[in-house]
Each structure stands twice: as structure tokens, then as C-alpha cells.
Symmetry: C2
Subunit: 330 residues, 2 copies
């Protein structure tokens, strides 16, 4: 048995969450529901325009790992913060949830700060994100410990981190060490625009090394440049051993070993959609390492996603095991 | 018409809110429901023991002013943060709510950090607070602008700030300037143990200068060193023009001009009791400056308190004016 079941690698961010109207999104000229990258000047200006906010640790893969840790899975996380107050908050929340987190923070003298994601939540529960990457952009191969990578069943790569060249190298180093020791590779496509920015790199990596692909409908359509969802699912299933594709209120599609499972979503009152895909992935992988059937893994993912969108913030607040039991999947 | 209706002076803190069990409170040896002061070493150690948290701007008087600003009252706040990330969060949240906030932050070279309050919320919704004061402890008379104090109808003093000698001087300077220009003085007793630490100073100030006293039952009993609540209310009414004393699920007592109003609490599901008294005071004062009758002011206070305890965090999330209208007090 390896010490770790999953190690996630991604953007270490603190979410700054504020309610906003649709009119405000228009006013600041952002596209609803997507993630845009912003620099520090824009982050400061935008922060000055939004209403009172609250700060909750986020980061896509970090949310996934937090969910996995919440379920008592053995896991770790790699992502870079700066040695500042937000960095301390990020590190605390991950460790307090039970995940290992040892990435060396950029020193206080570093010209960046800990990255943050300004999450504007509209009355319909949709989230629109503006991300200042800051220190997390500087994750490089030196932050990857090959010995640790050899000690995990899975690594989980966040697509967003494809936005940094040094992180491509970091991913390559992690994959080589993990696969060299018999481990497997999961990836999430993160965002349709992120896929658009890095389509070739994603496709090459997916065909070469990925065993488990997480995506949502828009991301998968973008990856395969088609409007035919069924065709995109088939292409993905040809590329990787396991496809887990979420489809908002229509639940999720799990394709593996020639089978195609459609898993219904778990209805809830959507308060803040942030983290739905992240928690789906965390719960799915927890089911997987505990040898649950693929459709049950999908059910677990949908239950966890439903929990996290029922409140503000992208980390679980209710006991997911209890929810799994209530839904009869545990 | 003066530019300000209320200016609050208090501890500028960011709340670090985490769920906790009663057993955990025993384990870390804190008394449930009260506020204890801790130093930075203890704050770091305690933070390392608690679970994943979220950060929301707090500070008792700051919450009161945020509630008053939320209601579109003309208001300001005085309290000291350091020039750091938590300080920026505190300042943003207050200004974004519509309050003036211009206190000069302690420089980044200052040996403290922005103060924070670790709020542990037990399953019953009760909050237990451990406060690292940090920079806020250094609020002194130089932070008080006498001209500004002359331009407000009311100043609102946070009892907690009695824990600092320089702040006594700051309060005295603020009171002199405010009263000298025909303004009035409100104070909140904050906490029974805080009353215990500064009873004589509180009593002297209340008799000499206070026009409006906010307290809860335990604080008022502590102030007058009695177990007879009715007697304590009478003594308070002899000391100040308006007494507004909350009594948890039993609502509030308003005593003024020889009258005694009992205002019922507004039932709700208590998620996090943090800020109940603060928002009561903010809404009460908003009623007062808008010349609502004393019992209506009390109703507004109870409605606002009910809103803030129905969710995590001590700042209003629902539209209080809408709630006032629904309850027929507007």
C-alpha cells in the first residue's frame, strides 16, 4: 500500500467571494460563468469595486484534495503560495482537512502575493471568476519531489496550471515519477477557455499519459472541437481508460471499459456553484480508490457536488460520508 | 444636518470562523460563549488546532457600523489594522458596505499584525471567541480626529477597547469633541468579563457621558454586581437616557423616559450567534436617528440580530430594510 492515494497539483488560491448582480458583471465586462486571468493591478481595482466579501480557501485541485481528505482519503497537495497571511490561510485549511501540504512558499521578498480568485456569485448561484495567480504561477519542477510522486496511486493535475510554462515541466516530472512507480494520472480540463488556450498540449498529454479524464460538457466539446456531445464522449473514451464528464443539472457520464453510465444529478438549491466539478472529482476518486463500481463513483461525485453548491465556498461543510449513506451509495 | 449619524470606535478584527465540538472547547480549555484575549503565540498554536476556517471581517463596533451602513445610514469607523492582507480585507469590507474608514494602518514594519478573532461555532450555534488584538491594541488619541467627532450625531464606543490604556484616552478625546459639538455618546459593554475587568471605568464613563447604553443581561448584571435583572435595568435607566438590553431568546428591554418596553426576539434557526448584539445595536441606532419610537427601534434591532445569527459571519447578508418591511416596522 502506497502512503498516498492521490496527490493533487494545481493553483493554490484563496477565494474572495462576494454576491453580485448580472448588471455588475456587465459593468465590469466579464463573461458570466467563466474564469478570466487578471494581473495584480486589475485585482486591486476589481476588489475596490465589489461589495463586502468573505475569504475561503479555494483552488480547483486543492478543493478536490480537500474533498478527498474530508472523506479520510490519504492525500497530498502541491501548489505555491507566498509567505503571507493568505498563504498561511491556504496552508492551514488544507492541512486542517487532513491533506499533506509541503510546497515551499515563495519568500516574503517575492514580488507576487499569494494568488486569489475573486468569485462573483449572481442570484442564480452561478459563479464568475477573476483570478490573480500571483505566487502560484511560479510552481516549477523544483517543487515536485519525485520520491513523493512514486509513493502515490494517483496524481491529479489541474488543467488551469497549463497556463504556466514551468508548470508543464513540473507536470512532466510528476508524471514520469508517478508512472515509473506504477501510479496513474488523472487530469481535469478546468475551463473551456483554458482548453482553448492549451488544446494541443492537453490532447497530447491525454493520449500519452492520462488514465482518468475529468471534464464538463463545454470543456469536452472544446477539447475535441465539436458540438456533438455524444461524439466528444466517444473520442474521450478512445483516448483514456476512464472518462468522468459532468453535465450540470443533467448529472454525469462515466465511460470506461466499453461501458457508458449516465448518473443523475442530485437536486439542490444552488447557492454558489463554485467547486461543483472539484468536489465531483474528489468524491469520484475516493470511490475509485475504494474500488466502488464506476457508476457508484459517479453517484458519489454528484452527491458531493450537490453539497458544495448548496452553500457559499468550495470546500465541503457537511459530512459527505453521511450523505453517501443517506443516498445508499455507501 | 451633520455629515455623520454614527461613528463607531472599536477593535478592528478579521474573524476566523470554524466549526468546533463542545469536546474541542474543553480540550483547548476555553469557556463556551465568552471572549478571551490571546497573544500571537497562542493564536498561532490555536489556529494550528482548529479545522478548516473561513475569514470574514468582524470586530464588534465594526459589525454595528456595517449594519448601520447596510441600512444606508451615514457612518464612519475608527479602528486600527496593520498594513497587511487581513488589514486590507477589513478595510475593503467596511468601505464596500458604505462606511467611511480612514484610520491610518500601522506600517508593515510594526511588530504586530492585523488583529483577528478565532470564532469557534458549536453545533448549537453558540460562538466562543479567542482574540489576538494585534495592531488594534495600538489605537490611541492620535487616531481621533476631533473635527470629525464634531461632525457626528453619535459616537458608538466598543467596550472591548477598554482593554487598552491609550484607547481610554482616545475615547475621552472623542467624547469631548463629540459632546462639545452637541453630539451624543453610545457605548456597548461587549462582554461580562470585559465589564469585570473595567467595571469602575465603565461606571464612571456611563454616569458622566453616556446617553445610550447597549448591553446584554450578563453584562448588565456584571456592571451593577447584582443577580436581580430588574434591579440592574432600573439602575441603568437611572444612569443613562436610553438603555437597550438584549436578553437572548427573550428579546430586548428598552428603557427610556420612564418607560420600559419589552420587545420579543425574532425566532430563527441559530447557525452562528456571532454579531447578534452588534447588529441589534446597528439597527437600533438606525431606527433612533430616523426617529422611530423606542420599541420600534428595539424591534428593528431584534430583526437584524435574527438575520445575522441565521448564517455564518457577523455582517448582514439579507436586505435588512426588506426584513423590516416584512415585519411591519418600516
Amino acid at each position: 500500500m502506497k502512503p498516498y492515494q492521490v496527490i493533487g497539483i494545481g493553483n493554490a488560491l484563496v477565494d474572495v467571494i462576494a454576491p453580485a448582480s448580472d448588471a455588475f458583471l456587465d459593468q465590469i465586462d466579464v463573461q458570466k460563468g467563466v474564469m478570466q486571468l487578471i494581473d495584480m493591478d486589475r485585482a486591486v481595482a476589481l476588489y475596490g469595486q465589489i461589495g463586502p466579501a468573505r475569504e475561503v480557501s479555494g483552488g480547483s485541485a486543492a478543493n478536490t484534495i480537500a474533498g478527498f481528505a474530508h472523506l479520510s482519503g490519504r492525500c497530498g497537495y502541491i501548489g505555491k503560495v507566498r509567505d503571507d497571511q493568505l498563504g498561511a490561510i491556504f496552508a492551514h485549511d488544507l492541512r486542517a482537512q487532513g491533506a499533506d501540504y509541503a510546497t515551499i512558499a515563495a519568500p516574503a521578498s517575492h514580488p507576487t502575493e499569494t494568488g486569489r480568485c475573486i468569485v462573483l456569485v449572481t442570484p442564480d448561484g452561478e459563479r464568475t471568476m477573476s483570478t490573480y495567480l500571483g505566487a502560484t504561477e511560479f510552481l516549477g519542477p523544483d517543487d515536485i519531489d519525485s520520491d513523493q510522486m512514486a509513493q502515490t496511486d494517483w496524481i491529479y493535475l489541474e488543467g488551469y496550471r497549463f497556463d504556466g510554462a514551468a508548470s508543464h515541466e513540473a507536470f512532466a516530472k510528476a508524471i514520469a515519477a508517478c508512472k515509473g512507480a506504477g501510479g496513474r494520472v488523472a487530469i481535469t480540463l478546468s475551463d473551456p477557455f483554458c482548453v482553448d488556450r492549451h488544446r494541443d498540449a492537453f490532447r497530447a498529454l491525454i493520449r500519452a499519459d492520462v488514465d482518468l479524464l475529468f471534464a464538463n460538457r463545454a470543456e469536452l466539446l472544446s477539447l475535441y472541437q465539436t458540438q456533438d456531445f455524444a461524439a466528444a464522449l466517444r473520442m474521450a473514451a478512445d483516448d483514456v481508460a476512464i472518462v468522468a464528464c459532468t453535465d450540470s443539472a443533467d448529472g454525469a457520464h462515466i465511460l470506461t471499459a466499453g461501458q457508458h453510465f449516465q448518473v443523475p444529478a442530485v437536486p439542490t438549491n444552488v447557492v454558489d456553484a463554485t467547486g461543483a466539478g472539484d468536489l465531483f472529482a474528489g468524491a469520484f476518486m475516493w470511490g475509485l480508490v475504494n474500488e466502488a463500481a464506476p457508476d457508484l463513483c459517479g453517484h458519489m461525485g454528484c452527491i458531493a457536488a450537490s453539497e458544495v453548491i448548496s452553500h457559499i465556498g468550495a470546500r465541503p461543510e457537511s459530512n459527505l460520508r453521511t450523505l453517501f449513506a443517506e443516498h445508499g451509495v455507501l
